[in-house]
Amino acid sequence: EPEVTQTPSHQVTQMGQEVILRCVPISNHLYFYWYRQILGQKVEFLVSFYNNEISEKSEIFDDQFSVERPDGSNFTLKIRSTKLEDSAMYFCASSDGMQGETQYFGPGTRLLVL
């Protein structure tokens, strides 16, 4: 069964460093998403991406964040200068075309900023 994959599973970084989180969405999907889950809190929407551009972003997704689809299979989230409060689980998701329908999630990357 096709699934969303994410690498790395865990990332530890120093405050102020840049991190890139990687995702491979399900191959025939057209919409891609990033969400995060701070420990003890709800899953929060960050950004959605379609047709090589951001289609929607939340207030969390400020200038420190960017997304990219560098090739036909990968979808990345970059945090330019990490802060302590960026520590969270980051989930990538994809859906097959209908807006917002059945988003399938990856296993997540646990980011720890020290």
Binding site: Y31, G40, K42, V43, F45, S48, S58, F105, G106, G108
Partner: protein
């Protein structure tokens, strides 16, 4: 695991019994709702969805009920199994794409 440190409503259910998990959503304009299951250390796993033009939808061992009048969503799990132990989230579609998740409910199945 993911549930460490979380203070979630917890439902303890005997194996074989039915479970009901409830969720109140916020936006009366939401038109699509999903239930996800999250096991420790894993991402949210799709269980079942429902559109706002329906009030009930059934899957394998699961049923989702939608009451738009009171903005309430519930997930019923029939014959609960140990593998059903997890955190369950409801989510509603906001805007074009974003899903807004609820706080989650922990289900613990007692063998």
């Amino acid at each position: 695991g993911e549930s460490v440190g979380l203070h979630l409503p917890t439902l303890s259910v005997q194996e074989g019994d039915n479970s009901i998990i409830n969720c109140a959503y916020s936006n009366s304009a939401s038109d699509y709702f999903i239930w996800y299951k999250q096991e420790s250390g894993k991402g949210p796993q799709f269980i079942i969805d429902i559109r706002s033009n329906m009030d009930k939808r059934q899957g394998q061992r699961v049923t989702v009920l939608l009451n738009k009048t009171v903005k309430h969503l519930s997930l019923q799990i029939a014959a609960t199994q140990p593998g059903d132990s997890a955190v369950y989230f409801c989510a509603e579609k906001h805007g074009n794409n974003r899903l807004a998740f609820g706080k989650g409910n922990q289900v613990v199945v007692i063998p």
